[in-house]
């Protein structure tokens, strides 16, 4: 006879938390959200937290992040936001429709709605799901619900709030919508956030999302966004991630594009202990175009992993991806980009590139392109490079009197520049250039360090 001692895993603990908090979770929350919880927690319980044996999480181990003890904000804990303090934390200041979320909860302290064009709805998911369920019910979880990712299931089981944006047919929002996600807690915190963006046919919107930790504690930030771009819609989503070294961000975005729509995404991973970004784009109509880009900066023991999947389900669509990583110290990075061209998706154009610069001998980068092409009349390409700072260029700049540090900075900026240029919002490009400068000269790290003193 043997005694089998079963260790209680972090996944078990989360399932048990769900069982004990079922009422709290459902309380005040729309049935649209609540009806997805049970099936999602089951899905999460079955999958557990993936390790390196999982193909999708081969290069990113999230187990240690889940082994910490976290506080959960299952109900809204409201506090006041000091705007001056917020902008000190390296959030780009833009002329924008501004909304805030704190630990995943929509903050109703300011009301950007007044300035928005008629018919536009911008607010908290919880509130809108209660008050205008008709806006949400045909969209929420329509894409994310198809995913097998355990963290998306975990998010769906626990999420109560996030930001919601609805742009009606033909409406153009001129100024960008800036969503500032503040993460702050004295103790370790697991924050769950669910976002939904619906851009109806012919509408146009640019969204700037800024994630930032304002405390030194470890935050596990699990966010899921669903983005629907209607026929002829133009949607830009730019994200800047700036988290402390103890924090983990799992950021999953699902985009569905109708005929002739145009999507641009750019994700700037400026700082953070462990960042995993999942992006899925599905073309659901011909002549749609997606430009998805990313740049990351890592040092110390940081890790950034970008995982993309472009589903070319319709013919005549174009996708273009450029992802770049600059890695220093012992930091690690990963990029896995999958392009799937369906059998009927003829005349597809799909391009992907991943370029990486290693600044130290100990930095590591894993890159994995994957093309699955079932159509026969397509143009697809992919390429990946892992290299060092160009020594010839460095010497050239120094031989013109520019100091080594400045010259390196210039070359890193130049490397990042290609990705920054893809951002169709000039003021944001300028702000990001400044942030990159601050990142490379250590100012961003010092901001986070200072909070832990």
């Amino acid at each position: 006879m043997s005694i089998i001692s079963e260790k209680i895993t972090p996944a078990d603990q989360l399932v048990s938390l769900f069982e004990h908090s079922r009422e709290t979770l459902n309380q005040g929350s729309s049935p649209i959200l609540n009806r997805m919880r049970e099936v999602s927690i089951k899905r999460f319980a079955q999958a557990g937290i993936p390790d390196f044996r999982s193909e999708d999480y081969k290069y990113t181990n999230l187990k240690p992040a889940f082994e910490k003890n976290y506080r959960h904000e299952l109900v809204r804990e409201t506090g006041l936001i000091n705007l001056n303090e917020v902008f000190k934390s390296n959030i780009p200041q833009l002329d924008a429709h501004l909304v805030f979320l704190v630990n995943g909860w929509f903050y109703s302290g300011n009301n950007p709605g007044a300035e928005l064009p008629k018919g536009v709805v911008l607010g908290g998911l919880e509130q809108i799901a209660n008050e205008q369920p008709e806006l949400i019910q045909n969209y929420l979880n329509r894409q994310a619900g198809l995913s097998n990712d355990p963290f998306v299931a975990l998010n769906t089981a626990f999420s109560k709030d996030g930001f919601f944006l609805f742009v009606p047919k033909g409406v153009l929002i001129e100024k960008p919508v800036q969503v500032i996600n503040l993460l702050s807690s004295d103790e370790n915190l697991m924050a769950t956030q669910r976002n939904l963006i619906i851009a109806e046919a012919g509408s146009q919107v640019k969204i700037v999302v800024c994630d930032v930790t304002l405390s030194a504690s470890s935050i596990l930030y699990n966010t899921v966004s669903e983005i629907f771009a209607g026929e002829d819609a133009l949607v830009d989503v730019y994200t800047i991630q700036n988290l402390n070294n103890l924090s983990t961000s799992i950021n999953s975005a699902f985009c569905r594009q109708q005929r002739n729509s145009n999507l641009v995404t750019g994700i700037v991973s400026l700082h953070g202990g462990l960042i995993r970004n999942n992006l899925k784009v599905t073309f659901n109509g011909e002549h749609a175009e997606a430009n998805v880009n990313g740049i990351s900066f890592t040092d110390k023991k940081q890790h950034v992993d970008n995982n993309t999947l472009i589903e070319h389900s319709s013919p005549n669509c174009l996708s273009n991806q450029i992802y770049k990583n600059i890695l220093d110290d012992e930091s690690t990075g990963a990029f896995a980009g999958r392009i799937h061209v369906a059998r009927d998706a003829q005349q597809t154009n799909a391009f992907q590139r991943n370029n990486n610069v290693l600044l130290s001998d100990k930095a590591r980068m894993q890159t994995k392109p994957q093309l699955i092409i079932d159509a026969d009349d397509v143009k697809c390409s992919h390429g990946a490079t892992v290299g060092q700072i160009n020594e010839e260029a460095l010497f050239f700049l120094r031989a013109r009197g520019i100091g080594e540090k400045d010259a390196r900075m210039m070359l890193m900026n130049a490397f990042a520049h290609e990705v920054i240029l893809k951002i169709n919002l000039e003021p944001l490009r300028d702000r990001i250039d400044e942030l990159i400068e601050k990142r490379l000269n250590g100012e961003i790290s010092r901001f986070h360090d200072q909070l832990s003193e």
Partner: protein
Amino acid sequence: MLSIKNLRASVEGKEILKGINLEVKAGEVHAIMGPNGSGKSTLANILAGKADYEILEGEVTFLGQDLLELSPEVRSRSGIFLSFQYPVEIPGVPMVNFLKASVNEHRKFKGLAPLTAGEFLKLLRAKKEMLHLDTELTNRSVNEGFSGGEKKKNEIFQMAMLEPKLAILDETDSGLDIDALRIVAEGVNALKTPENATILVTHYQRLLDYIVPDFVHVLYKGKIVLSGGKELALELEEKGYDWIKNGNE
């Protein structure tokens, strides 16, 4: 101005320079000629501070300072300018930003305030006019997509912006058609003053039709084997490098 004494240097364990001696004074133009592989570019790169070489012996002083002790950026700020044989393309670094940083580093070194944007643009325009350059070059990233001729013109333009005390032109004539060569040479001549000096590193004599040297040195197998006036270049052109090779073996 520049004094090289018994300079020996190697790259990857192979001795390239085997005892170079050279004195360059203000106002002089020196041409260093020699067949491929004689060590001409190595000498130019060592003077500019490229790190790929190991100095085995000898000393180099520039305006009384031990040049070999200085970083490439300090050499540049002190007045050394290397015009590269193969100027590197740097996509994403705009010419204007690069030049402004470079000029202001030089000014800082001299204790001068950085140029304002307006002053900088004025200087840029003046130097462009002086060299008859088209405006296009400065609107692009450093050397990106430039033709061979454009790259060399761009080097001379940088030289005009920085006004070095000692310009080392490494094979500036290679890859240039006759028109580009003339523009480059005119630029070098226009920048000539009694206070500065020039070292022309070249394989062919033709550049010396346009920039007339005061001294010609022939570098062969890591040593200066022959020195003379400008007429030496013509003699070399006539007799070929075999004349040197045979004479030395």
